[in-house]
């Protein structure tokens, strides 16, 4: 038996998104809202049902849902009603059938709730503070190219830093990297790492969006070289008015992901099998840092 209700699109509105500077704790009213959503999903059948509905953007009938899940239509109707009450789905009559559709707001509201609870939306740091005393960072100079390219090669050899398999020519890097955003780190006057920004697009509207790279020499990792480089890099980017920095990191490179988090980057998601390295499709974690000052 189909249920005989028509529920209008119940709002699954996200609580007001606060700017990073204003968030320091999850507000009680937001927590209550999220708890209501999560409570509604505290049932495996309901989660499976929502998954079925969400996988069929054009809608799915109660009868099809019952068949797909292997449960009776009364049970489906009960769970659909609960999901509709909270606003995850809407229910419409179409001829003799009842069609269940996912509420599009659910697709953004639910991930937002998860992000809010897990602290993804809390204020992010500007940059790492606890820097090593023995590392100095300075603008890259012409004489640094050999060291920079050697360190690039060492990063390539790790197979956890980049899809690139050969060190690009100096001319190619010089053309690619933004002027003024090329830094080297030194310990005892020896170049032990570098950082650079590359534009992500040639279009004017993206002029303030850049992709960052940070490489540390073999034997120098774990000494705070990357931290010192990244700190200078983001401060210079902020000063120059660049509004978004982005980077892609292999999931195995957890040190680099943690380093970028300490400089205000946030993980946007995993890009699955985005490219091949040595013939194997690899995922990358995509991170971005929004300047606290621009726009």
């Amino acid at each position: 038996m189909d249920i005989d209700i028509v529920v209008g699109m119940t709002s699954l509105d996200m609580p007001t998104v606060r700017t990073p500077g204003e968030v320091d704790a999850l507000a009680p009213e937001d927590a209550a809202t999220y708890a209501g959503w999560f409570a509604c999903l505290a049932d495996p059948t309901r989660v499976r049902l929502l998954h079925q509905v969400a996988s069929r953007p054009a809608g799915i009938t109660v009868g099809e849902l019952a068949e797909a899940l292997g449960i009776g239509q009364p049970t489906v109707s009960h769970h659909v009603r609960k999901l509709a009450d909270v606003g995850f789905v809407s229910v419409h009559k179409r001829s003799t059938s009842t069609v269940v559709m996912v509420n599009p707001a659910c697709c953004t509201g639910l991930p937002h709730a998860a992000d809010a609870v897990m602290g993804v939306l809390t204020p992010r740091p500007c940059c790492p503070d606890d820097l090593p005393d023995d590392v100095t960072v300075r603008p890259m100079a012409e004489q640094d190219w050999d060291a920079v390219r050697r360190i690039y090669g060492e990063g390539i050899a790790t197979r956890t830093a980049t899809f690139t398999t050969e060190v690009p020519l100096q001319t190619a890097l010089d053309a690619q990297w933004l002027p003024g955003h090329r830094w080297v780190a030194e310990i005892d006057d020896i170049v032990v790492g570098w950082a650079a920004l590359s534009p992500t697009s040639g279009r004017d509207c993206y002029a303030g969006v850049a992709e960052n790279s940070v490489y540390v020499a073999d034997g120098m990792r774990g000494r705070g070289v990357g931290k010192a480089l990244l700190r200078t890099q983001v401060i210079a980017a902020d000063e120059a008015g660049l509004w978004t920095l982005q980077t892609s990191i292999f999931p195995e490179n957890r040190a680099s992901i943690a380093l970028h988090h300490s400089a205000g980057f946030r993980t946007l998601g995993v890009r699955e099998r985005i490219a091949q390295l040595d013939g194997i499709w690899r995922d990358t974690v995509f991170l971005e840092r929004r300047s606290p000052v621009a726009g």
Binding site: G21, C126, C127, V137, P139, L178, P179, G180, H181, W183, L197, D204, A207, G208, A210, T232, I235, A236, D238, E239, A240, G241, L242, W243, S291, P292, V293, A294
Partner: protein, 177 residues
């Protein structure tokens, strides 16, 4: 017995100030209207706005010199607390930094920008000449998040040297060539 530190190389600082002044004039005088309006590379500014920002670096230094002279005479915790407060205000500083150069570029045309540069560098040259060796070694905590060339603690000498680094850093980003 402790040996006296070598005297500060004022001639080198003065030469660097003059080098930048001459370079600024060459850049401004040699740029066409179209080049000045063109977007720079690696900043949010146009070339004209960025050129003013490069001059602004010298204007800021005059204020920084006063701050060092004052805060170096106060107890350390006061100076460090002030630097922390300034660090916390970094977004505000950058807003002023960005929009200030945008607005100023509408007021200072090429000729005025050159004159402004001459004025501010002349004042810095005069104050550098008058500065005692003791003064040049005064220091204070700095808001390191404001600029990649700021360090945790800077002496008056380092503050005089700072704008040249800032000038060269941004000069590479001009697209007037």
């Amino acid at each position: 017995m402790m040996s006296e530190p070598p005297p500060v190389d004022r001639a080198a600082i003065a030469a660097d100030l003059e080098r930048a002044r001459v370079a600024l004039h060459e850049l401004v005088d040699g740029a066409s209207t179209e080049q000045l309006a063109r977007r720079s590379s690696g900043t949010r500014w146009t070339n004209e706005q960025l050129l003013f920002h490069m001059v602004f670096g010298y204007m800021v230094v005059r204020r920084l010199l006063i701050m060092v002279r004052v805060f170096s005479r106060l107890p350390d915790p006061v100076g460090r607390g002030f630097a922390r407060a300034l660090n916390a205000a970094t977004p505000v500083f950058h807003q002023i930094n960005y929009f200030g150069s945008c607005a100023a570029a509408t007021v200072f045309n090429q000729r005025r920008m050159g004159r402004q540069c001459d004025r501010v560098i002349a004042k810095l040259q005069r104050s550098l000449t008058r500065e005692s060796e003791t003064n040049l070694r005064l220091s204070m905590a700095f808001p390191v998040r404001w600029d990649p060339f700021f360090t945790e603690t800077m002496t008056l000498e380092q503050v005089y040297r700072y704008p040249g680094k800032h000038f060269d850093f941004h000069r590479a980003q001009l697209t007037v060539g």
